[in-house]
Symmetry: D2
Subunit: 335 residues, 4 copies
C-alpha cells in the first residue's frame, strides 16, 4: 500500500497531537508542517523529522495527498476550501467556522468537488462509544427513545480561551450533537436550552455559560438530554446512556485502572480521568486511522463528513438561540 502524504497546518496544542499520530501511523508519511508562526513550525518539524513550509505550499504541493487543518478556528473555512480546490483530501478540525452561514457556504462550494473530507468529531472513535454504536445498530435495545448525555470537563479553561471559543454550545456541546446524530442515525428537530455562568461568572459578559442543560426532540420520535459543565470537583465525566424499548445501554465514565480502597464503611474507587484529554487522547489516532482507510477506498461507516460538521453546528446555533429566547428552537429555523 502506498503511504498517504500529509501536510499538517497548525502546530499548537492539538496540532502537536496530530503531528505525533501522523508520524506514527504506518499508512502515513508526514511530509510538511506549516503554521502562521514559522518558528513554531520549525521547532515541531525538527522533532518530527519532517520539513516546515508555508501554509500555501502545504496546500498546493504536488507532494501532498492530504491536508490536516489544526490551525486557529477563524482560518478553518478558507483553508478547507482552498485545500479542497487544490484537489487535496482534508481532515479539518471542528468547527468549520464559528459562523454557521460561512460553514454552510463552504460546504456548498466544496461538496461538488468530491474530495474526501472529514471534520474533527474524533469522539466518535472513543472505544466505548463505538461499542454503543454497534449495539444500537444490532437492535439489541430496540429503537432509541431517551438519550441522556453528560459532558463535564474537570478544569476551567483560561478566560482567554473562552473568549474566542465561540461559546459552550459551539465549542463543547457540539461534539455531543454530533454523537447524538451518529449514534441514532436520526436528526434533531428542536432544542431547548438553559444555561448559567456559575464557575466563571465573568464569561456572562460576552453571553457565554459554563453550565447548561438541553433537551432535544428527534425526528423519529425519541427525546434527548445533554448537560455540559466547564469544571467539576471530581474529574472528567463523559457518559452516554441510550434507553430503547428493550433496555438501556450506557457508555459510561470510563476510567484508567485504579484501586479500590475499603476504609471506614466506604469503598473508594480511585482513578477517575483527571481531564478530557486523558480520556479522548486515543480517539485522534483512531479518527486518523479511519480517514486513512477512507483515503484507501475502504468503506468506513463512522467517518464524520462535511455535512455532519454543518449539521452539528446548526444544532449548536439553535441551542444558542434557545438560550436567549427562552423558547425551544426548531433546527430548520437556523438553516
Amino acid at each position: 500500500m502506498h503511504k498517504k502524504r500529509f501536510a499538517l497546518i497548525g502546530c499548537g496544542f492539538i496540532g502537536q497531537v496530530h503531528a505525533a499520530n501522523l508520524a506514527t501511523h504506518p499508512g502515513v508519511e508526514l511530509v510538511m508542517l506549516a503554521d502562521a508562526d514559522s518558528t513554531r513550525a520549525s521547532t515541531l518539524a525538527g522533532q518530527m523529522h519532517c520539513r516546515a513550509g508555508e501554509v500555501s505550499a502545504a496546500i498546493n504541493s504536488d507532494n501532498v495527498d492530504a491536508v490536516l487543518i489544526a490551525s486557529a478556528t477563524p482560518s478553518h473555512a478558507e483553508l478547507l476550501e482552498a485545500a479542497a480546490r487544490a484537489g487535496k483530501a482534508v481532515y479539518c478540525e471542528k468547527p468549520i467556522d464559528l459562523s454557521l452561514q460561512t460553514a454552510m457556504r463552504v460546504a456548498e462550494n466544496v461538496l461538488h468537488l468530491n474530495t474526501k473530507i472529514t471534520v474533527g468529531f474524533n469522539r466518535r472513535f472513543d472505544s466505548s462509544h463505538q461499542q454503543l454504536k454497534r449495539l444500537l445498530d444490532q437492535g439489541i435495545i430496540g429503537r432509541p427513545e431517551l438519550i441522556q448525555m453528560v459532558c463535564r470537563s474537570s478544569e476551567l479553561p483560561p478566560l482567554s480561551y473562552l473568549q474566542t471559543s465561540g461559546g459552550q454550545m459551539r465549542d463543547q456541546a457540539i461534539h455531543f450533537f454530533d454523537l447524538l446524530r451518529w449514534l441514532t442515525g436520526d436528526e434533531v428537530t428542536s432544542i431547548a436550552a438553559m444555561g448559567a455562568a456559575l464557575a466563571m461568572p465573568a464569561i456572562s459578559k460576552f453571553g457565554d455559560v459554563d453550565t447548561s442543560v438541553l433537551i432535544m426532540q428527534m425526528q423519529q420520535g425519541g427525546l434527548a438530554q445533554l448537560d455540559n459543565t466547564r469544571r467539576t470537583g471530581y474529574g472528567y465525566d463523559e457518559r452516554i446512556c441510550v434507553m430503547g424499548e428493550k433496555g438501556l445501554a450506557e457508555s459510561g465514565p470510563q476510567s484508567p485502572p485504579g484501586l479500590k480502597l475499603f476504609q471506614d464503611k466506604t469503598i473508594i474507587k480511585q482513578g477517575v480521568y483527571p481531564d478530557w484529554f486523558s480520556r479522548v487522547q486515543g480517539t485522534y489516532y483512531q479518527h486518523l486511522d479511519a480517514f486513512v482507510r477512507y483515503l484507501n477506498d475502504e468503506e468506513v461507516a463512522d467517518l464524520p463528513g462535511l455535512l455532519d460538521g454543518v449539521q452539528a453546528q446548526a444544532i449548536a446555533e439553535a441551542a444558542v438561540l434557545s438560550l436567549s429566547t427562552k423558547r425551544s428552537c426548531p433546527i430548520d429555523k437556523v438553516i
Copy 2:
C-alpha cells in the same frame, strides 16, 4: 406516650399499604376504615381487626386524632378541607387536586386553621435520598449547580389508570419536583419540557405523554434536569445526581441484594428492582413515622407540608404548559 388514633379513608391498593403500616406502627392505633365501596372497607377492616365506618364518621368521630386520605384523587380536596375543619390532623395522598386552582383554594382555606398536615411525597423518606439531603446540608459538595434526576417506571400502567391520572407531569414527575425543592432548599423559577407517547401511543389522544425530558432554572442559579418514562425494558430506575462546586453525589438506582455472574467476558449484576413499588415500599412507613413524631410535637425537618404540595403542583402545571406551548414557562405564570 399516648397512641394517635387514625382513621383511614380509601381501601384500594395504596390504602391497603397505609393500613398495614398504621396497624404496625407502635405509636398508632388504627380505629376506623372507610371507603366509598363499603364492602371493600369491611373486608380490609376484618383483616386489620378494626371497624369499618362511613367516611363522614371517619372525619368527625371524637375517637379520631388523625385522618389518612388515600381515596380517589377527585375526593382529596374536599376530604382534606373537611378533616382539617373538624380539627383532625391530616396525611393526604398526593395530589391535593388535579386542578392547581382547587389545590390553592383548599390551602388558603385550611392553612390558618393550624392543623398538622402532610402531603404524600413519601419519596423524601427513601433512605439514600435522605443520605443525600444530609450530605448536601453539610456542604460537602458545596452549592448545588446541576441536578440530574431520573424516574423510570418499569411496567406500563393500564390505560384506565392513565386516563384519570392527570398526566405524567402531575402523577409521576411531581414527586421529583418535590424532591428537587426539598434537596436543594431552592425554588424552581422556570421549566421547559418535551414529551412523547412512545410506549403507549393511545394516550396522546388525551394529551398525555409517557416519555419526557425537562430542564429547570433554579432561583439561586442552579440548573436541573429530569426525565420520566412509564416503562423500561430493564426494571425500575430512580436516580438523583447533584453536582456541586466541590463534587458530585449520587443517590443511585438502588437494588436488592443480588449476585454477580461472570460469564463469557461479561459481568452480570442480578437483581435490579422490578418495579417502583419494590423500591419505594418502605418509604410509606418512614413517612408515617415522621408524621407521628410531628403529631407528638417533635421537630421533623423533612415532612412535606400543604404548601409543598401546592408548590410541586405548580411546577407540574408549568411543565404541562411548556409541553404544549413549546417554550419555557416561568412558574409564577401559573400561580
Copy 3:
C-alpha cells in the same frame, strides 16, 4: 393452620433476636421464655407478652410443640437431647457442643427419635447466598471447581467472649464450613489452616487466632478457600465466589443503600455494612420461617439438620488440628 407453640430457652443477645421473631411470625405462638437468670427471663417475657418459666417446664410442658435453644453453649447438648426425648421439635443454636465427641454422642442418641431438629446455621438464609444456591443447582456455571469464601467481622469482640467462644474455627469459620457443604452438595475431605493473633495478641495465650486462612479439598474434586478475621478497618465483609467450569458466581459483600460521592478523582461508595449483625439480621427470621414450614410438613430443602451441625463441627475440629500440626488434616481423622 394451627400455630406452633414455641418455648424459648436463653434470653441473652441472640435469644432476644429470636424472641422478636417468634413474636412476629404468623405461624408461631410464643408461649414461654426461660433463662438460667430468671430475672432476665421475666423482663423479656414482659416485653413479649408471654410468660416466663423454668427451663424444665419449657422442655416438658404439654403446651409446647417446639423449643428454641439459645442459651449458653455448654448447655446446648443436654437441652437438645432432653427436648428431643420429650418429643419436642428443636431449633438449636450452633454449636451443638464445643466438644465434637459430645456433639456426635448427642446426635447418636437423638437421631433415631425422629424429632424435627434444626441447627442454627442461619446464614444459609441470606438472600444472596440463597440466590447463589439456586444458580448452582440450575447448573448455570457447571460443576464447582474453586470456591472462595471471605468472612471478616468488623469489630473485635471483647476478650471475655473470645475466651469461651471455642476459638475462631468453631465459632466463626464454622458457618462457612456449613455454607460450603450446603452450596456444593459436596463434602470436605481434607483441610489445611494457618492462623495468627494479629488484632488481639492476647488470645494466643489460649491458643486462639483472629486471622486465618484455610484451604480445603472436596470429595468431588473441587478446591475451596476461606479466610476469617475478627476485625477490619472498613466494615463487615462476607463474600462467596464459586468458580465453575462455565463461569463464576459471586454472592458479594452486600451493603445497605448508600450514596456514591465523586470527589477529587475518586468515587466513594458509602454504606458498607458496619458489622456482621446488620448483614445477617434478617436470616434468623428466614431460618425460623423455614423451620415452621418444616414443622407443617412442607418440604424445605435448605434447613440445616443435626448431622449438618456435626459435620461442620468436624471440619472445624480438623482445622484446629491443622493449625497446630502444620499439616493438612483429613476430616475422617477427627470423626
Copy 4:
C-alpha cells in the same frame, strides 16, 4: 543520553513482544536478534530493521550493552551466566531455570560480577499493582495482615506447552510469589498447597495441576492466599487484595472500556479482559523502561533482581513439595 544497545535472544512469541518494545523505546537501540532457529531470527530482524546474528555474537559483541534473554527456558541459565561474564547487562525472562539448584548456582556465580540484571517479573509494572505498592508504602492501610491473590487464566494452554512449563507453581504462581514479596517487603516462611487437574485431567500424569489453592505464612506475621486456574469460563481474572489493620486495598480485575447493558432486571458489564496477555501486555514495556533507567544509573525501586528470581522460585519449589507431601512446607527446607 546515549542509547543503550540491546541484543535480543529468542524470537518466539514473547521474544517478538520484547522486540517491538526494544524497537520503540527512545533510550534503546536494538542492534541484533538471535534465535536457535536462524530463519525465525532473520524474519523478525527484517521486520525490525536490525540484523540477525549468532547467539554467541549477541552475547560477546562489543556493540552490545545489554542482552535480553527470551529464549526457551532450558537455555536461560547458561545464557544469563555467559552474558554476565561477558560484561553485559541482562534482562532474563523468568524462570532462571526449572531447577532451583541450578538457579541458585547461577546466582552465586554471577552476583559478585556486579552486572546489572533483572528477571522477568513484569507484573510488578502493572499500573494498578504499582498504585497498590505506593499505597502500602505510604502506610494508608497499615501493616499487611491478610493478602488475597487471584490468578486465573482464561484459555487452557496446549498440552505441549504444559508438558515443558515446569508446572503451575513454577510457571504461573511464581509471578504472584514475587508480587507478594515485592508488595509487602516481607518474606514467605511457610506454604501449604492443594491442587487438582480439573480442566485438563491429562496433566496429572506428569504430576501437574491446573487448579490450585495456597496459603502462606509471612515472616512479619501476616498471612496470604493465592489461587490459580488455567482456564475460566468468563475471561481473565487477576486480583490482589491487601487487608491491613486500617483498611483494605484491592488491585482488581481491571478491564478494558466496556458498556453497561441494563436488561431484564440485570446490569451486564461488558468487556472483561479475554486473556492474560491483553491485561499484562503493557507491563513488558514498563519493565523494560525501568531497566533502561537502571542502566542509566537512576534509582529504580521496583526492579526485580536476580535474587528475587531465586526467592520466588524457592517458594514455588516449596509449593510443589507441599502438593505432594500434603503438609505445609517451610521455605528454608528447599533452599
